[in-house]
């Protein structure tokens, strides 16, 4: 485990990572027991702070909550072993047309913390977007076969992407995500310096976005796209 990523445990425990870092750290968590234990323990600590800001909610809220649950069945426990995210299968998509090769995000929607038998799954923002009742889904296939899927929940006001197939960004470059706003402008929505294995949440409000784009940009990203998008997905 790199000590660098390990240092994100505290910020992750209090939800203080940006979406790209969160996705990256969750990928790390899936393989690092030490970090998982540390995050759990730091959440115990941060949860204590809620004690200092407690305020009784309006009584009507209790009625609404209890009315809600009366109409919904709790999820069944996780009993059977479930498959881990499929490992990358495409080791060799390489550089040839580097700019055309795309992002790789483990496409399976998967709670990165889950271990077979652990019984606990943390719901990530990405999961919530992907599974939102109002989620819209659009898909495209790149030249190399990578399938990119964009999800948008207007209710959550956020979008996320996944992609099947794997390729890191070209050497010395990063992938930049974009949300096209209602006026047609491309707004930066996050960077991916590596090929994440889980869904990636885009930065920024997405309820009115027209679509999602991905470009290859210099390190640190660009305020506006400097290369032609390698993927462009329009929400209907």
């Amino acid at each position: 485990m790199s000590s660098d990523i390990h240092a994100l445990s505290g910020a992750y425990a209090v939800d203080a990572l940006d979406p790209a870092e969160r996705a990256e750290f969750e990928r790390h968590l899936a393989t690092c027991d030490a970090c998982r234990a540390e995050v759990d323990s730091l959440r115990e600590a941060s949860g204590m702070i809620a004690e200092t800001v407690a305020v009784p909610p309006p009584p009507a809220l209790r009625d609404r909550v209890l009315a809600d649950i009366a109409t919904m069945r709790p999820l069944a426990p996780v009993t059977a072993r479930r498959r881990r995210t499929t490992r990358r299968r495409l080791p060799a998509l390489l550089a040839a047309a580097a700019a055309v090769v795309l992002v790789a995000v483990g496409g399976l929607v998967w709670h990165p913390w889950s271990h077979p038998g652990s019984g606990q799954e943390q719901v990530t923002l990405a999961d919530r977007i992907v599974h939102a009742p109002d989620a819209q889904r659009v898909r495209t296939r790149l030249k190399d076969g990578t399938v990119v899927t964009a999800y948008r929940s207007a209710a959550l006001d956020r979008a996320a992407i996944t992609a099947h197939g794997m390729a890191p960004p070209p050497r010395g470059r990063v992938y930049e995500l974009w949300l096209q706003d209602a006026a047609g402008a491309m707004r930066p929505a996050g960077l991916m310096s590596s090929a994440p294995t889980s869904a990636v949440v885009l930065d920024g409000a997405a309820a009115h976005a027209r679509g999602v784009g991905i470009t290859v940009e210099p390190p640190g990203g660009s305020p506006t796209p400097t290369t032609a998008p390698i993927a462009l997905l329009a929400f209907s």
Binding site: A7, L8, S9, G10, A11, A13, V14, D15, A16, L17, D18, A37, D40, S41, L42, R43, E44, A45, S46, G47, M48, I49, A50, E51, T52, V53, A54, V55, P56, P57, P58, L61, R62, R64, V65, L66, D68, I69, A70, M72, R73, P74, L75, A76, P77, V78, S118, G119, Q120, E121, Q122, V123, L125, R128, L156, D157, R158, G204, A205
Partner: protein
């Protein structure tokens, strides 16, 4: 999870006032569809959940929505709670906190940036309303523990957890070099954890 017994020894029940119901046990019953257990769970935790949401989003209507959605999540996901990983309260508050943070980041209105920053930078006078409403011994213990952090650690932790800011934003607000705030947050939480004696090595 079909465990009937109380959570195993060594599992922290941090933040649970003395004599309070066994939250983990209530959660287990809720997972089986026991609505009255869930109502008790709500009664025992709602002030913390709502207060946390309110502190992060600063808007009572939104805080109510977040609380309502969070409890629905908690009900649905109750079977996923794993006592081996931490207390029921921590699990529940994690759900509330993430929802609250997602909400403010989604809104991300410039106005919030400005006004909230000012509010948050008033001398820490711990919400007097909250204090009056919930002057519990636990709150006092936590404040004492927070007071034991270095000022930078405490501010970084509070801006991140109660302010809902990212570590990068926290660094900028506290004039720290980028990349330093995450370390302060982590160090502060570790110290808080150790002083409060919660969530130790399992």
């Amino acid at each position: 999870m079909t465990r009937d017994e109380p959570a195993p020894v060594g599992v922290p029940h941090a933040g649970t006032p003395t004599g309070a119901p066994d939250l983990a046990g209530l959660l287990v019953r809720a997972a089986r569809g026991d609505e009255s257990a869930f109502a008790q769970l709500y009664d025992a935790t709602a002030a913390r959940a709502y207060g946390l949401a309110l502190r992060v989003v600063r808007n009572p209507a939104q805080a109510e929505e977040i609380t309502q959605e969070s409890y629905l999540d908690i009900w649905r996901q109750a079977s996923r709670y794993d006592a081996g990983r931490g207390s029921a309260l921590s699990w529940m508050l994690t759900i509330v906190h993430r929802r609250a943070v997602d909400r403010v980041r989604a809104a991300e209105a410039e106005t919030r940036r400005e006004t909230a920053y000012e509010e948050r930078n008033r001398p820490v006078s711990h919400d007097t309303t909250a204090e009056a409403a919930h002057a519990s011994l636990d709150a006092h213990r936590v404040r004492t523990a927070l007071a034991g952090l270095t000022p930078i650690q405490r501010e970084a932790v509070e801006l991140a957890y109660l302010g809902g800011y990212t570590h990068t934003e926290v660094a900028s607000m506290l004039d720290l070099p980028v990349g330093t705030a995450k370390t302060r947050i982590r160090d502060g939480l570790i110290r808080l954890r150790d002083v409060m004696d919660v969530g130790g090595a399992r």
